[in-house]
Symmetry: C2
Subunit: 354 residues, 2 copies
DNA sequence: TCCCCTGACTAATGCGCATTAGTCCGCGGC
DNA sequence: GCCGCGGACTAATGCGCATTAGTCAGGGGA
C-alpha cells in the first residue's frame, strides 16, 4: 500500500536553458553543441566541453516531442501494425519482419516506436484517430492488409513519409516493399519442369489479394516460358473440393505436380496434403508437391515442403531503407520487390514415368 | 522501380489556423472546440458546428507532438520492454501482460506506444538514450528485469510517471505492480496441509530475485501458520542435486509433499519430475507435487501441476490503473500486489498414511 | 588609422497547439 | 442614461527546442 507521489513542485527534467545557465552560455549554444551543430557554426572546444559537462551533470535529455516540433524530426521511425495487440509474439508472422526492421533502423541511427490499431477506441471528435499518432515519428512503416486505406491515404496525401510492407496498389503515391511472389512462383515451376514434370496444377483459395494474383501471374508466366501445361484451381472451400478422388482424377489426367498457395490458414496446402494421403499416395514418390511460401508452425513435424521462403527480415530492412530514402532525399526509387529464396524441400522429385 | 516523391511544396497537413480561417473563427476557438473545451468557455453551437465541419473538410488531425508540448499530455501511454531486439524468448511470457495493458488502456481512453531497448545504438552525445524516448508519452510502463536502473532512476526522479511491472525494490519512489507470490505460495502450503501433509519441502534454484525470496517468505510464513514442518532446498544445479535417491531419502524422513519454484527454465521443477520418475514413484499417488507458477510450454503434455497461476492480463491492467492514477491524481496508492489464483491441478493429493 | 573580415558566440523567432487574460457587444437594472 | 454583467469569442503567451539573423571583439590589410 505504498504511496508513490509525483513531485508536485515539479523539479522536472532539466531543459536546455538550465544547462545553459550552468555552463554560462546561451540556450542556443547548448542546442548547437548537443544537436551536432549541423550548420557548422564555429564553437570553441572549451565551450563545448563545458556544455557537455553541464548536460551530464544535470542529466539532461532532449524532449523528443519538442525536437519533433521544432526541427520536424526526432530520428524516430514508427511501425504501425494493425493487429489486435502488439506483434511481439514470436509466433506472430510479423515478428521476423520486425527483427529486420530493427536491425536496419539501428544501423541507420533511428529508434523505433511501435503503434497498433487499438481497434475499439471510440474516435472522439478532434482526437487523433489511431493512424495519426504515427506523426510522433518522422516516418512510419505500415504492416498488414488491414491498415485502413482512407486514413492512410490522407496521411500520405498530406506528405507524411510512409512505407507499406506488402504490396499495396490502391494508393499510388504510397511507397511499398513486397516479396517477389511472381518470380518465386515461376522459379518453383521451372524447378518442377527441370524434374521432368509436364503438367502442373496450382491450388488456391478464392482470394483477391495481390499476393495471390501475383503468384498466379508468375505461375502462368512460367508455364508459357517452360512450355508446360497447367491449370489454376481456385477453391472456396479447399478441404471440400481438394479430395483424394480429385487427386486421383488429376493423376489420371497426367498431372504429377501440385502447387499450393500459402495463406494465413494454408487451407489449400492442408487440403492437398490430406487429399494425397486419402488417395494412398506419398510425395515425392508418387507425385510432387510444392508450397508457395512457408509452412505453418503446426505442420513443422512434416517433411519440409519444396517451395520458397520469403526473406522476412530482408523485407523489413528494405522497408526501412525505402523510408529513410524518403526522409532524407524526399523520394525513393529503390526497387520495391524483394526476391524470395527457393527451398528444395523434400516433397518434390522427378516426375514418375507413366 | 516506381518513384515515390514527397510533395516538395509541402501542401502538408492542415493546422488549426487553416481550419480557423475556413470556419471564420480564431485558432483559439478551433482548439477549444476540438479539444473538448475543458475550461467551460461558452461557445455557440453554430460556431462549434462550423469548426467541426471545416476540420472534417480539411482532414485536420492534431499533431501529437505539439499537443504533448503545449499541454504536457497527449493521452499516450508508453510500454517499454528492454530486450536486445524485439523480445524473442521473453516475448512469450510478456505477451499476455500486454493484452491486459492494452485492454485497460483503451478502456481508459489512452493509446499505446511500444518502445524497445535497442541496445546497440551508439549513444551520441545529447542524443536521447533509449529510455528517454518514452517522454513522447504521458507516462510509461516498464517491463522486465533488465531495464537499466540508473536511467530509470533519472526518469523517475525527474518526475516522469513510470510504473514497473514486476516488483522492483531498489528504487523507492518507483511505482510497481507485481504478483503476490508470497500469498499464493502460502495458499499452496495451506492446501497441502488440508490434504493431510505434515512435512513439505520447497525446491528452488539459487536465485536472488525478489520473485524467489517472496515465495520463500510465503512458504515459511505458511509453515508457521499451519504448524507444518518444512525445509527450503536451494540447488545451484537442481538436475544434479535433486535425484531419485534424494527423493527417497526425503520420503524416508516423512516428507510426502514437494514444492518447486517456477523460473525461466523451471530447472527445479524439471529436476523434481525426473527425480520422482527415477525413484519409481508417481504423483499424486505416492507423493504430492506442486509448482509455484505455470509450467513451461514444452511440459504442456504432462498432467497439470497443482500450484497457482499468475494473472498476467490482470497484472497489465493493474499497471495501467496505477499509471493513470499517477497521471491524473499525481499519486497512486492502490495496492501493487495482484493476487494469484490457486490451480488445483493433478499432482497433489491426500498425504498417504505411513 | 580605419575598415572589413572572421571566429565565437547570442537574441529573436517560430514549430502547432493549449491556455490565460482579455475584448466587445447586448441587455437588464436602477 | 449609465453601469455592470454574462455570453461569445480572440489576442497573446509559452511549452522546449532548432534555426536564422545578428552582435561583438580582435586581427590583419591598405
Amino acid at each position: 500500500m505504498a504511496e508513490i507521489r509525483l513531485p508536485k513542485a515539479r523539479r522536472g527534467r532539466p531543459r536546455q536553458a538550465e544547462v545553459a545557465r550552468l555552463a554560462g552560455v546561451s540556450q542556443t549554444t547548448v542546442s548547437l553543441v548537443l544537436s551536432g551543430n549541423k550548420q557548422g557554426i564555429a564553437l570553441h572546444p572549451d565551450t563545448r566541453a563545458r556544455v557537455l559537462q553541464a548536460a551530464r551533470q544535470l542529466g539532461y535529455a532532449p524532449d523528443p516531442a519538442a525536437q519533433r516540433l521544432a526541427a520536424a524530426r526526432n530520428d524516430l521511425l514508427g511501425v504501425f501494425s494493425f493487429t489486435a495487440t502488439f506483434p511481439t509474439d514470436v509466433a506472430h508472422s510479423y515478428y521476423p519482419i520486425l527483427v529486420g526492421v530493427e536491425q536496419e533502423a539501428v544501423a541507420r541511427g533511428y529508434d523505433l516506436v511501435l503503434f497498433t490499431g487499438s481497434s475499439s477506441a471510440p474516435a472522439r471528435a478532434g482526437r487523433a484517430d489511431a493512424l495519426d499518432r504515427v506523426r510522433l515519428a518522422d516516418g512510419c512503416l505500415f504492416l498488414g492488409r488491414h491498415v485502413p486505406a482512407d486514413e492512410l491515404r490522407r496521411l500520405v496525401e498530406q506528405g507524411y513519409p510512409a512505407v507499406h510492407i506488402g504490396r499495396r496498389d490502391e494508393l499510388d503515391s504510397l511507397a511499398w516493399v513486397g516479396a517477389d511472389y511472381a518470380e518465386a512462383t515461376a522459379e518453383v515451376v521451372r524447378r518442377l519442369a527441370a524434374l521432368g514434370h509436364r503438367h502442373v496444377v496450382l491450388v488456391c483459395e478464392t482470394d483477391e489479394a495481390l499476393a495471390s494474383t501475383d503468384r498466379e501471374r508468375g505461375f502462368r508466366g512460367a508455364l508459357a516460358q517452360t512450355g508446360l501445361t497447367g491449370e489454376v484451381v481456385r477453391a472456396a472451400d479447399p478441404a471440400a473440393e481438394i479430395t483424394g478422388e480429385w487427386v486421383r482424377s488429376q493423376l489420371a489426367a497426367g498431372v504429377r505436380a501440385f502447387v499450393a498457395e500459402e495463406t494465413d490458414t494454408c487451407a489449400a496446402w492442408r487440403a492437398l496434403l490430406t487429399a494425397v494421403e486419402d488417395a494412398g499416395l506419398t510425395a515425392p514418390a508418387d507425385l510432387s508437391l510444392a508450397l508457395l511460401g512457408a509452412p505453418p508452425a503446426d505442420l513443422a513435424h512434416l517433411p519440409e515442403p519444396t517451395g520458397f521462403d520469403v526473406p522476412k527480415a530482408e523485407l523489413g530492412a528494405a522497408a526501412v531503407r525505402t523510408l529513410t530514402a524518403l526522409l532524407t532525399a524526399g523520394a525513393a526509387d529503390c526497387s520495391p520487390l524483394v526476391p524470395c529464396e527457393f527451398r528444395p524441400g523434400r516433397t518434390a522429385g522427378p516426375a514418375p514415368h507413366p
